[in-house]
């Protein structure tokens, strides 16, 4: 049972990570910096609950704000470049963050224990959940409440003018400028919101694993972050959720019985999925078909 609860936790946190990349991808930017924002969120939230004894929710809120601020600061220079150059710039940022935490030590003594980040050894004993008597199920419910709130927020944004503007920028930056959209402001805002969401995800991640270290926040995690929305499709937030379930639940855990062959099959299945569904698992056509199935006749009425 605990195995499945653990898996559901992972899927929840990775959904948040994927959603953070979803915001940025809507504007057509491929960012591999999301793992860096996730790391910032993890360390900040962990330090606040462990070292400053803050309650979890304010700690997560501050972690999200700090990650968002970092994303905003990274956004201005990084978004001046495009395409492959942006990928390279964001990978460099992600690695810089990782190496920062590799070297970052800030510990306090609490009785016989040393608490806080300790360079390459990582940051152990983030014991907020066990200390406050949260069961694994409580944690699962908490994570998914947050996921639901974030998804609801992004769903609402998607259906407001913001969503249309983000997609317009993603499709054709020149045309977007020609109709009066300030594309720098839009892209930096998307990056900031993405950083904010990654910060929440990282903060939660730090608390349910209780132990974080630099190596967890490398390029592999960054690749996962953009793989979810790309595989899931950008037509709405549920694609990212679906892809996180598919990759974490099925490809990683479901294929574990295959041993080392799993990784090979993992790559193969992703390529296959992208070939069969080039616009993602949940593309606009499928969404429309589902809507028709559940609400026949309503299709044409709304704008």
């Amino acid at each position: 049972m605990d195995f499945y609860l653990g898996l559901i936790q992972i899927i929840g946190v990775h959904t948040l990570l994927g959603l953070s990349a979803y915001c940025v991808l809507l504007t057509g930017q491929v960012s591999l910096a999301q793992a860096g924002f996730f790391a910032v969120g993890a360390y900040v939230a962990g330090m606040l609950t462990v070292l400053a004894q803050w309650p979890l929710i304010p700690a997560l809120a501050v972690a999200a704000l700090v990650s968002g601020a970092v994303a905003c600061a990274v956004g201005f220079p990084a978004l001046r470049v495009k395409g492959l150059m942006l990928v390279v710039a964001t990978v460099a940022f992600g690695e810089a963050v990782r190496l920062f935490f590799f070297n970052f030590t800030y510990q306090i003594q609490a009785g016989t224990l040393h608490l806080g980040p300790h360079g390459a050894e990582g940051f152990r004993q983030i014991r907020y959940f066990p200390e406050n008597g949260w069961s694994t199920l409580d944690v699962v419910l908490f994570i998914w409440t947050v996921v639901a709130l974030v998804m609801a927020g992004l769903w609402w944004l998607d259906h407001s003018r913001v969503g249309a503007v983000l997609r317009a920028v993603g499709e054709d930056e020149l045309a977007a400028q020609s109709v009066g959209i300030n594309i720098t402001a839009v892209k930096v805002s998307a990056m900031t919101v993405g950083g904010f969401i990654a910060g929440i995800g990282g903060g939660i991640f730090a608390h349910y694993t209780t132990h974080i270290e630099h190596a967890q926040f490398g390029v592999v995690l960054a690749t996962f972050a953009i793989a979810y929305p790309i595989l899931g499709g950008l037509s709405n937030v549920f694609g990212t959720l679906l892809a996180a379930v598919f990759i974490q639940g099925f490809l990683i855990e479901g294929l574990r019985f295959m041993g080392d062959w799993r990784n090979l099959l993992f790559g193969g299945l992703i390529v296959l999925a992208m070939n069969v569904r080039p616009r993602g698992l949940l593309d606009a056509g499928t969404t429309r078909a589902l809507r028709r199935l559940f609400a026949p006749g309503k299709e044409r009425s709304g704008a």
Partner: protein, 254 residues
Amino acid sequence: MPEVPVLELKDVSKHFGGVRAVDGVDLAVARGEILALIGPNGSGKSTIVNLICGLFPLTAGRIVLDGADISDMPMHARVSGGVARTFQNIRLFGQLTVWQNLWVAQNSGEQRRQGFGRRWFGGSRSARGEVERTLEFFDLAHKSNELAANLAFGEQRRLEFARALSAKPALLLLDEPAAGMNAEEIDQLDNRIRKVRDDGVTILLIEHHMELVMSIADRIAVLNFGRKIAEGTPASVQANPVVREAYLGTPEQV
């Protein structure tokens, strides 16, 4: 004292390396007129449109809109200042619906002042009236939920025209709006351009379709090799031997 023109180009030049795409052009567009810009391919017409909308910086000269110098303004700011355009090769947001294409284009100064929250976070209802009227005018209302990429060519041209109008421009730059259209579509385009002008929008039209140009332009400016070689009423331009030589052709050739 004459009225201040909507748009004024003052000795505007744009050089790409050694190529003088636009070379010392002076041009004034009066309020409420339709000014056509004609000339052979490569004469600098599209470059002028790109300079006015701010796609790239000027090599020399100034551009003045409603008495204010906009030469150094970024592209998006010029739209809220009152300049909108269409593209010679259509550039719609293909994966957005027809409705959304117009909705995202609501960036006029007036629309910006309606309040940040309502403007950005309001649902599609908040824009309903304006978008609906525009779609109706361009005969696209029945396509409002279609993806722009799925429209027929003529519809895409109309949508681009509609999208440019959604920012409520004072000056509209139409870059070859009749390209690829059949006679009936050109007739409709002619009517729409007139109506838009009658609603108070000044129009700078680039077009190769001479019948359309001669029918709707109040004045015509002719470019050749980046320089303005003539300007005046359609009749005077048609009669101008320099223009005939460079572009329109002599009667014997026709």
